[in-house]
């Protein structure tokens, strides 16, 4: 087991500032990630999907310890990652690389691409001489569909998709074991996207890389993932092998998600919105299932008791009272 997450929780305080306190406003809790469990085996790809704002990026930042959890455990190769000293954590950063959702903010605007891509190698002592590093940078650029003409440019001199590829190259530059991609191919045309997904596949075959892959494009998720976890407002509502989950989704939210995919064929039916009502809120959510009020299968119990994530066979788990 490469990564194991248990009861992972992150609550943010709203109105926690001094002005609100003076005004006597009650502090509210935004439950961004609310007790999730998942694991990823070595050499495996877990796809993470879910509603915008459901806690995917927060999960990625917790697992890389960019933020500390409110509760829960993160185990890397059976060790408690949260107990790592800052020195140990610094060394471990090389092994867990995060491709940020927003490349615009994650690349230093004052550094050239050569600097951005070679600095991590230098820090971790991966390529000793400048010439070695330059060669490695050129190779990385070419693999992500860029070239030598880009090496001395600054981040603002690129298109959105080119910046995204620089962020991918940076993550791969230090030979990581686990790559967490937060929407890593969302700004790419489908041909370059195919090239990058094939690259991820090659690296997995060759070096046994493990991926946590966050994406909204469900065909990309289906293509790249061995297993998939579906989140809804801070909770995992369904997990299972990719093929089974896509062919026979069990949770009403997963079903709604698959029904809303627009197919790349103007002759096909347009996507359907099967969830009614307003989006569910993570701020002091009411008890019961988070899909309450929107779910086509809702019954009386749903608003009272939160459905636990239970095994349903075939390596699948679902959290729903009315399967």
């Amino acid at each position: 087991m490469l990564l194991e997450v248990r009861g992972l929780t992150k609550h943010f305080r709203l109105n926690g500032d001094i002005y609100s306190k003076i005004a006597g406003e009650k502090t509210q809790l935004l439950k961004a990630v609310d007790g999730i469990d998942f694991h990823i085996r070595k050499g495996e790809t877990l796809g993470l999907v879910g509603e915008s704002g459901c806690g995917k990026s927060t999960t990625a930042r917790l697992v890389t310890r960019l933020i500390e959890p409110t509760a829960g455990e993160v185990r890397l190769k059976d060790e408690d990652l949260l107990a790592f000293s800052s020195k140990r954590m610094k060394e471990t950063r090389k092994d867990i690389q995060l491709v940020f959702q927003d490349p615009y903010s994650s690349l230093n605007p004052r550094k050239t691409i050569m600097h951005i891509l070679s600095r991590p190698m230098e820090i971790h002592g991966l390529a000793r001489t400048w010439a070695e590093r330059r060669e490695k940078v050129l190779d990385l650029l070419q693999r992500v569909g860029l070239s030598a003409e880009h090496i001395d440019r600054y981040p603002h001199e690129f298109s959105g998709g080119q910046r995204q590829r620089i962020a991918i190259a940076r993550a791969l530059s230090v030979d990581p074991e686990l790559v967490i991609g937060d929407e890593p191919v969302s700004a790419l045309d489908v041909s370059i996207q195919a090239q990058i997904l094939n690259l991820f596949r090659d690296l997995q075959e060759e070096f046994g890389l493990t991926y946590l892959f966050i994406a909204h494009d469900l065909s990309v998720i289906r293509h790249i993932s061995d297993r998939v976890a579906v989140m809804y407002v801070g909770k995992i509502v369904e997990t299972g092998p990719a093929a089974a989950l896509f062919e026979n989704p069990l949770h009403p939210y997963t079903k709604a998600l698959l029904a809303a995919v627009p197919e790349a064929d103007p002759g096909k039916a347009p996507p359907k919105l099967t969830l009614k009502g307003e989006v569910s809120t993570p701020i002091d959510p009411p008890p019961g299932c988070r899909l309450c009020g929107r779910c086509p299968r809702e019954t009386a119990i749903c608003a009272q008791i939160e459905p636990p994530l239970v095994d349903v066979g075939g390596d699948r788990q679902v959290a729903c009272h009315n399967l």
């Binding site: 915008s52 927003d102 929407e183 489908v190 996207q193 909204h216 289906r222 990719a242 701020i283």
Partner: protein, 324 residues
């Protein structure tokens, strides 16, 4: 035929970089009618966002420069407007959703402050009215508990929520023309569908026109009337959505459609277009796609193909269509 709202004629944009010149957009022409949705798709780095920024007159100069061409908005050349006239046009008449929200949102202002700023300058509403309107807009774009989130800073929002803040800002003044550069990349498909419905309702209600830049060919298939395909700073194909999907005429478009991963099957490897992307500083002679094209002929290496009508309303720039 509805009236033309935007017309680009031979737009050419160049960046002067330390290492030499980079032509980001080369001779691009198209027009958009009232109520029409024009989808701009194509290779990453091919000049889509630069085209959009040129329409808004937001190309940084230096190093950027509009070398040739005209951009007619409601009959007047945008390139000849004064800066003051441009400020009056932006936001109120032409609004834009930028590809990277953080490049356009200000981290030190709250969501309410940013959106109401646009409302107050463009529509002259009071502070209180603006706040009410912002809450309404946040609800429209699917932000849960908008009352509680309106005073948040953008760093407290998720990627997709930031994108929706940008969209709410762009739609706040009911613009007649919207440029949306990748407005749904950070949205799950159900919220994406909600947003597309919202945009469609504005097209129907206000006759809004839309320049829609996206890599999501599923979205294009269901939202756009017309499509333009770009490769290496050129527009290589343009036509009605149905025609482009059913009968793509340029080898790049064909390759692009073949690269789409499928939802109903799982394959180990995908099939990207072979070869590597073309250099923008030192592009190949002739057709820019020839080093990667399986149909390339001698003439392709020598001469740029003309953009010509290959079927009624369907244009392509490829020598395969020039024979005879």
């Amino acid at each position: 035929m509805a009236e033309t709202v935007l017309e680009l004629d031979d737009l050419t944009v160049r960046f002067r970089l330390r290492r030499g010149d980079l032509t980001a957009v080369d001779g691009v022409s198209f027009s958009i009618a009232r109520g029409e949705t024009f989808g701009l798709v194509g290779e990453s780095g091919s000049g889509k966002s630069v085209t959009a920024r040129a329409i808004m007159r937001l190309i940084p100069d230096p190093p950027g420069e509009i070398q040739r061409g005209r951009i007619l908005f409601e009959g007047n050349n945008v390139l000849e407007r004064s800066d003051a006239e441009m400020r009056a046009l932006r936001g109120r008449h032409i609004a834009m959703v930028f590809q990277e929200p953080m490049s356009a949102l200000n981290p030190v202002f709250t969501v309410c402050e940013q959106i109401s700023d646009a409302l107050r300058t463009n529509l002259g509403v009071t502070k209180k009215e603006a706040r009410e309107r912002v809450i309404e807009l946040l609800a429209l774009v699917g932000i849960p508990s908008p009352q509680q989130r309106v005073d948040s800073y953008v760093h407290e929002f998720s990627g997709g929520m930031r994108q929706r803040v940008m969209l709410a800002m762009a739609l706040s003044c009911n613009p007649g023309f919207l440029i949306a550069d990748e407005p749904t990349t950070a949205l799950d498909v159900t919220i994406q569908a909600t947003i597309l419905e919202l945009i469609t309702s504005m097209i129907n209600r206000l006759g809004m026109s839309l320049l829609f830049i996206t890599h999501n060919l599923g979205v294009v298939a269901h939202s756009c009337d017309t499509i333009g395909v770009m490769y290496a700073s050129h527009m290589v194909e343009r036509g009605k959505t149905r025609d482009i999907f059913a009968n793509p005429q340029h080898p790049y478009t064909v390759g692009l459609l073949n690269s789409i991963p499928r939802l109903d099957t799982q394959s180990k490897y995908l099939t990207p277009i072979q070869g590597s992307v073309c250099s923008m500083m030192d592009p190949p002679a002739g057709c820019k796609f020839h080093p990667r094209c399986t149909h390339a002929m001698d003439i392709c290496r020598q001469k740029s193909p003309e953009f010509r009508e290959v079927a009624p309303g369907h244009f392509a720039a490829c020598h395969l269509h020039n024979r005879g």
